[in-house]
Amino acid sequence: MEKVKEILQNYSSEGRENLIPILQDIQDNNGWLSEGSIIEVGNHLNLPVSKIYGVATFYNQFSFQPKGKYHVQVCRGTACHVLGSASVLKELESTLKIKPDQTSKDGLFSLEIVACIGACGLAPVISINGEFHAKITSDSIKQIIDNYKQQQNN
């Protein structure tokens, strides 16, 4: 269930300075910002929904689709780039059949590009639900994704 009303109770309806903290709270709790939640924020702060959507789409930290059960973050920092993260991303896109910031139809995987995640020694690196996978190759990536799919089936 979406938790929006409870979050809004913690914020005064006066003043738009609360907008970003509210959106962050909703993002943290629900994992994404639904249309319904954005409209409710608009009602609460008495701000046009177009404005809220404008602010929310400005920042990468907000997503507009629910995240998958397994959230895949691909590091596109310098070290990872030099060691081939572009092809890792490409491989992931074709394996999962989604683009960055999308979620697969079965709701299992979502994909996100992140700047350096501070594990340059492991480059190219991806993180799935916070678990790091080091020195990724096109072959290993399929294996990793398969493992998660199997985990789901068992």
Partner: protein
């Protein structure tokens, strides 16, 4: 305070921006994001000038002059920078000027020419964004958008609707609605003020050309046209005549040349509106019904109320607008007189307005599934229509409108400017309540371009409070006062656009406050020189009631001339 501009000393006021000083002294500096009389945003950088003391390029729109400043407005550095900005704007532009509705009337095109952009130095990836045609009034072609933000600001600051804003960031930025949906499900009220400020062809009206051309070719159709009170004073300058000149005779002649079978005047419908609306006002006062009563002529305002103030709907007059009243009479009274079937009449109107296109297709504006009005042209489209058919408007011999829906009084004519509807309604209400005509027929307190005008009119024992607002942002403030319990206002006129219809979103591009003033003045001149200045004396309106409608607010009037409004659930 003194500052040096291009090595010449100029006087400057305190807090005056450099751009204002330049404009005051006839020095032209290009702008794109700037809107006169609005707070500068400094986003587009076109108005750069060189501050030769600091050596910096500064935006003249947002920089305030300081003592002994030295400015160069057209130094090589400045012109090079401006040119680069235009080249960057063009780098991802569709470049389809020849196919663009704003060809020869585009600020980007003009700047490109002015700054001598003659080759493509910067190649960027073209955008591929879909065209939003979902609205019945406004089309958005985002590929042509240069992100100046003027539409966003007008929608928020003048109209108070904010249905669009910037979405995403950096190179992915676009102007769009909430959740980037079609304009039709947004809170857009179709006023078209965004089109008026758009420098390019990113925002245009939904074109009704082809349907009208087909109807004109169809022998089974009787094609009838009406034009709004403000039209005759709004397009002279488009044909090299004096701005504001009343050219209704030439328009009548042109419309016949275009092939319209009957030429009527929406001003007749305005007179009819006054008959119904003044009766409704008197009825509401006598029966102690909901007050204040608010006018319903402006479809932008009506949709705004349905979205933002559904609790105030009961305040809005049930009268259809003059366009719809004329349309309803064309397909009933006129059809009966001419022995025509309503379905064989194709009814067109020319409006200074884009919201009229929306109004025309409202479900409430039909009788047995047949629309009161079939197609609506904006003033801009009408100008194109005339040019397309090779008509030299200035040289035409003026002609009269057709009977019976062509006779008008000057009371209906002043509908075209803010305050006009209120004044016309009060003239007739005064007569109906006292049996006497209002002295000099003038209510100066409701005239002029102020955001809000208020007055009290003594009619017999009754003291009537009247308020007139233009620009929906100003309506909002007044409505909040009424909601908070203000009781001294009985009658309110609301127009969505600044200045009323003479400043409408369907008017020729490049309109400024001066043009609005000249058009308004021209309407009041027509009124000053008119022989009939009250709607209740319009002989054709009197005949219409005798022959067909009975009396104002009769059963037949209600069926044909009145409507209802409903709360509208959109994304606010």
């Amino acid at each position: 305070m003194k500052i040096s501009i291009n090595n010449i000393i100029h006087e400057a006021e305190k807090q005056e921006t450099i751009l204002d000083i330049l404009n005051r002294n006839g020095i032209k500096v290009p702008t794109l994001c700037h809107i006169k009389d609005m707070f500068p945003s400094g986003a587009c950088r076109m108005c750069l000038v060189e501050d030769t003391i600091s050596g910096k390029l500064i935006t003249s729109c947002s920089s305030v002059a300081t003592e002994n400043m030295k400015i160069q407005t057209h130094s090589p550095r400045v012109t090079e920078a401006r040119k680069t900005i235009v080249e960057l704007l063009l780098s991802n532009h569709p470049d389809d000027c020849l196919y663009c509705v704003r060809n020869k009337n585009c600020e980007l095109q003009n700047l490109s020419e002015e700054l001598c952009v003659t080759e493509r130095r910067i190649r960027g990836n073209k955008n591929s964004l879909s065209i939003d045609r979902a609205s019945s009034s406004i089309v958005r072609d985002q590929e042509k958008c240069i992100l100046c933000g003027r539409c966003v600001r007008v929608c928020e600051e003048v109209i108070g609707v904010s249905c669009i804003d910037f979405i995403n960031r950096g190179s992915k930025s676009i102007v769009g609605t909430a959740f980037n949906k079609g304009l039709n499900v947004s809170s857009c009220v179709n006023c078209g003020q965004c089109i008026m400020v758009c420098p390019t062809g990113a925002l245009t009206e939904k074109n009704h050309f082809s349907e009208i051309k087909i109807a004109l070719q169809d022998p089974s159709k009787t094609v009838v046209i009406q034009y709004a009170p403000s039209i005759s004073v709004s397009l002279a300058e488009e044909f090299n005549m004096k701005p504001g000149k009343d050219i209704n005779g030439n328009i009548n002649a042109a419309l016949r040349k275009l092939g319209f079978d009957f030429v009527f005047d929406t001003t007749f419908g305005a007179d009819l509106t006054i008959m119904e609306e003044s009766s409704e006002l008197i009825q509401r006062i006598t029966n102690k019904e909901t007050l204040p009563m608010i006018t319903s002529c402006c479809p932008g305002w009506v949709k705004y109320a349905e979205e933002f103030y559904p609790e105030m709907i009961k305040h809005i007059s049930s009268c259809k607008s003059p366009q719809q009243m004329t349309g309803a009479m064309i397909k009933s009274y006129f059809a009966e007189k001419e022995n025509l079937k309503p379905k064989d009449i194709y009814s067109v109107s020319i409006m200074p307005c884009t919201a009229k296109k929306f109004e025309g297709q409202r479900e409430e504006m039909t009788q047995k599934g047949i629309s009161d009005v079939d197609a609506i042209l904006t003033t801009r489209e009408f100008v194109k229509f005339i040019n397309m058919f090779g008509i030299d408007l200035e040289k035409l011999q003026p002609e009269l409108t057709d009977s019976p829906l062509g006779t008008r009084t000057s009371a209906g004519k002043i509908f075209g400017t803010t305050g006009g509807v209120a004044e016309a309604a009060l003239r007739t209400a005064y007569f109906k309540l006292t049996g006497k005509e209002l002295m000099e027929f003038k209510i100066n307190d409701v005239r002029g371009l102020d955001n809000r005008k208020e007055t009290k009119i003594k009619i017999g024992d009754l003291e009537l409070g009247v308020a007139v607002v233009n620009g929906l942002g100003n309506a909002k403030k007044l409505l909040e006062e009424i909601k908070a319990g203000r009781k001294d206002i009985h009658f309110i006129e609301v127009m969505a656009c600044p200045g009323g219809c003479v400043g409408g979103g369907g008017q020729p591009i490049n309109m400024d406050t001066e043009a609005i003033k000249i058009r308004a003045k021209s309407l009041y001149n027509i009124d000053d020189n008119a022989s009939i200045r009250v709607s209740h004396k319009n002989p054709d309106v009197v005949a219409l009631y005798t022959e067909f409608l009975g009396e104002p607010l009769s059963h037949k009037s209600h069926k044909l001339l009145h409507t209802s409004y409903n709360m509208r659930k959109v994304i606010l």
